[in-house]
C-alpha cells in the first residue's frame, strides 16, 4: 500500500526580550540557578504579572511577517497543571484569543517549487523552569531533583501550523523557514542548542488518497533541524509497520532519542490532562489599535522571501543562489556588503558560496564569525575584476586574509608581489627564456600533429607561470606562446 505522511508542527520560539514576559527579571542565558527568578517568576504569594511591551511587538511582527491576521483583542488564559518547573501551578498562555491569527509560510521544495504551509495561529506564553536531575538526596536516601526557575517566565511565541506537511523534508524546510523569519526579524536568536527554538511534531500516516487523517503521535521537544527529519522518518516507518502488521497507532506523546535514533512512548500518566483553561483574572484583554500594528508593519525589515525575490529580480542571481544567500539574515547581510564593496552581485555570490563558505565549513564557523570581513572580500573581488590579480593569486590573497596576514587585499597583493603581469614585453621575455630552456619539448611540439599541439602547450604555460611566480596573465601567456611556438614550426 502507498502511504501518505501528514505532519503538523508546534514551534516554540523564545523571544529575545531583555526582561521576562510578565516580570522585570533578566532573560539572559546561563546564569547561576534561580538568580534570575524574581518574586513574580517564583509565584510568591501576592505577586502579579504585567505584560512586556516588547513581547507583544515581537509577536505582532511575526504575525505580519507571515501575512497573518492580527486580531484587535487577544486574551491571556491560565493553563492549570502541577509540575515542579511551573511555579504558579498554571502557565499563562493564550488558548481562545491568540495574538496572531491564521497566516502562512512559504517553503521551497527540493525540486525548487514553492509550497505554502498554513499557520493556524501563534500565541504568547511563558516558559517553564528547568529540572536538573543531578544526584541530590533528601538525607534519607531519596533521590531528589533540583529546580532552576531562571527560565520561568521567558516569553515564548508558540507557532502552530496546520497539518500541511507531507514529508520529513518539508517539515525541516518549514522549521528552517520559521527560523529564518524569526532571526530576520531579530525577535529570537533561534539558537536551538540553547533551547531558544524547540519543536513538537505531530505525525500521522494514512493510505494515499484517504481524506481522513490517521491517528497522530506527538513527538515532544525536538531540538535540531536534523533531529526533526530523523524523528519523523523513524516515526513514519514505525507507524506504517505497526498498521501493516495489523496494529493501531495510539494517540500519545513520544520522545525522540537522538542517540538511538528512535522515538519512544513517554510513560503515559494515569490521567488524561484537563488543563481547566480560563481567562487570567490578573491580566486584562490586550487591545492593539490599527495605528500600532501599522507602525510595526512599517518598521518590518526585509524578509527572507522578499530578499530572495529581490536577489533574483534585481541582482540577476539564480533561484538557487538567491535561496542560499537569503536563507539567513547574517548570510544575506554579508553577501550584500560584499556586493556593495565589489559592485558585482554574481561575483559576490560566487565567492560567498564558494571560497568563503568552503573555508567556514572547514573551520566550523558561522558567517558572522568569518575572519575575512565582507569589505575585505569585496576588495579582493574588485582586484580580480580589474585584472590586478589572476584567479590563482586571488586564492592566495583570500588565504592570507583568512590568516590575518594583511588588512586588505591590496596590502596582501603588494606584500606578496602578486600583481598580475600584463606587460607583453615582460611576458615575451619570459616565454623566450622558457623556449630557449626547453629544446626537447620544443622539438616534440614541432614534430607533433597540429591537432595534438593544443595539449602540449600546457607544459610551456606552466613554465612561464612558474617563472612569473603566478603573476602573469594566463590568457596573455597562452596567446603569445601559441604565436611564438607556431612560428617555430
Amino acid at each position: 500500500m502507498q502511504w501518505e505522511t501528514v505532519i503538523g508542527l508546534e514551534v516554540h520560539v523564545q523571544l529575545a526580550t531583555q526582561s521576562k514576559i510578565f516580570s522585570g527579571a533578566s532573560t539572559a542565558f546561563g546564569a547561576e540557578p534561580n538568580t534570575q527568578a524574581c518574586a513574580v517568576d517564583l509565584g510568591l504569594p501576592g505577586v502579579l504579572p504585567v505584560l512586556n511591551e516588547q513581547a507583544v511587538a515581537m509577536a505582532v511582527q511575526f504575525g505580519l511577517a507571515i501575512h497573518a491576521e492580527i486580531p484587535e483583542v487577544s486574551v491571556f488564559d491560565r493553563k492549570n497543571y502541577f509540575y515542579p518547573d511551573l511555579p504558579k501551578g498554571y502557565q499563562t498562555s493564550q488558548m481562545y484569543h491568540p495574538i496572531v491569527g491564521p497566516g502562512e509560510v512559504e517553503i521551497t521544495l527540493e525540486q525548487g517549487e514553492a509550497k505554502r504551509i498554513r499557520v493556524h495561529h501563534a500565541h504568547l506564553e511563558e516558559d517553564a523552569g528547568k529540572s536538573l536531575h543531578e544526584s541530590f538526596s533528601d538525607g534519607m536516601g531519596h533521590a531528589m531533583t533540583g529546580i532552576d526557575l531562571n527560565r520561568a517566565g521567558t516569553p515564548l511565541l508558540e507557532i502552530v501550523s496546520e497539518p500541511d506537511m507531507r514529508s520529513a523534508k518539508e517539515a525541516a524546510a518549514y522549521l528552517k523557514a520559521i527560523h529564518s523569519i524569526v532571526t530576520y526579524l531579530g525577535i529570537s536568536d533561534g539558537n536551538m542548542a540553547e533551547g531558544s527554538m524547540r519543536c513538537d511534531v505531530n505525525v500521522s500516516v494514512r493510505p494515499m488518497g484517504q481524506a481522513e487523517y490517521g491517528t497522530r503521535a506527538e513527538i515532544k521537544n525536538v531540538n535540531s533541524f536534523r533531529f526533526v527529519e530523523r524523528a519523523i522518518e523513524f516515526e513514519v516507518e514505525r507507524q506504517i509497520e505497526l498498521i501493516e502488521d495489523g496494529g493501531k497507532v495510539v494517540q500519545e506523546t513520544r520522545l525522540y532519542d537522538p542517540e538511538r535514533d528512535e522515538t519512544r512512548s513517554m510513560r503515559t500518566k494515569e490521567e488524561a490532562n484537563d488543563y481547566r483553561y480560563f481567562p487570567c483574572p490578573d491580566l486584562l484583554p490586550v487591545v492593539l489599535d490599527a495605528a500600532y500594528v501599522d507602525h510595526l508593519r512599517e518598521i518590518l525589515p526585509e524578509l527572507p522571501d522578499e530578499k530572495r525575490a529581490r536577489f533574483q529580480d534585481e541582482l540577476g542571481l539564480s533561484a538557487y543562489d538567491a535561496g542560499v544567500l537569503a536563507a539567513s539574515r547574517e548570510m544575506a547581510e554579508y553577501f550584500e556588503a560584499v556586493k556593495e564593496a565589489c559592485g558585482d552581485a554574481k561575483q559576490a555570490a560566487n565567492w560567498v558560496q564558494g571560497e568563503l563558505s568552503g573555508a567556514l565549513n572547514r573551520e566550523g564557523l558561522a558567517i558572522q564569525d568569518s575572519p575575512v570581513s565582507a569589505t575585505q572580500l569585496g576588495g579582493l573581488i574588485g582586484r580580480v575584476m580589474d585584472d590586478t590579480i589572476n584567479g590563482k593569486a586571488a586564492k592566495q590573497v583570500f588565504q592570507a586574509l583568512w590568516n590575518g596576514q594583511g588588512a586588505s587585499a591590496d596590502e596582501v597583493i603588494e606584500a606578496k608581489g602578486l600583481k598580475q603581469v600584463t606587460d607583453s614585453g615582460a611576458i615575451e621575455a619570459m616565454i623566450d627564456q622558457v623556449i630557449a630552456d626547453s629544446p626537447a619539448q620544443v622539438a616534440q611540439y614541432r614534430d607533433a600533429e597540429p591537432e595534438k599541439r593544443g595539449k602540449m602547450i600546457g607544459y610551456f604555460v606552466g613554465q612561464v607561470m612558474k617563472a612569473s611566480r603566478g603573476t602573469a596573465n594566463p590568457q596573455q601567456v597562452n596567446g603569445l606562446l601559441k604565436e611564438k611556438l607556431d612560428a617555430l614550426c
Binding site: 526582561s19 540557578p33 505584560l51 512586556n52 507583544v56 529546580i147
Partner: protein, 95 residues
C-alpha cells in the same frame, strides 16, 4: 448537574489534594449542595450575553522591556523548605 463520587476524586486529584475516602464522602455531600445552589443559574436565560471577566472594561497596560529585578535568591530562598546549591529540591522527577 448531579455530582458523582468520581467527580470529587477527579477534582481532588487535579487539585493535588490528598483526600481519604471519608473526606471524599464528606465533601461529596457539601459540594453536591453547593452545586445545587449554583444550579439556579441555569434558570436564567443568558443567550447572547457576553461573559464578563473583569468588572471594569479596562485593557492591558504594557510594561517597558527593562530589567528591573536584581538577584535576591538568598532572600527568597529563606522561606523555602528544601534548597541545595541554589536549587529547589523536589522528589525525583522521572521523565
Amino acid at each position: 448537574m448531579a455530582l458523582e463520587h468520581a467527580d470529587v476524586l477527579r477534582a481532588a486529584h487535579l487539585a493535588r489534594l490528598g483526600l481519604s475516602d471519608e473526606d471524599a464522602a464528606h465533601y461529596m455531600d457539601d459540594l453536591g449542595r453547593i452545586l445545587d445552589m449554583v444550579d439556579h443559574l441555569q434558570a436564567l436565560d443568558t443567550e447572547g450575553v457576553a461573559p464578563l471577566a473583569h468588572p471594569l472594561d479596562a485593557t492591558q497596560r504594557l510594561r517597558a522591556d527593562e530589567v528591573t529585578e536584581t538577584d535576591r535568591r538568598d532572600h527568597f530562598q529563606r522561606c523555602a523548605p528544601a534548597v541545595e546549591q541554589g536549587l529547589y529540591l523536589v522528589p525525583r522527577v522521572v521523565e
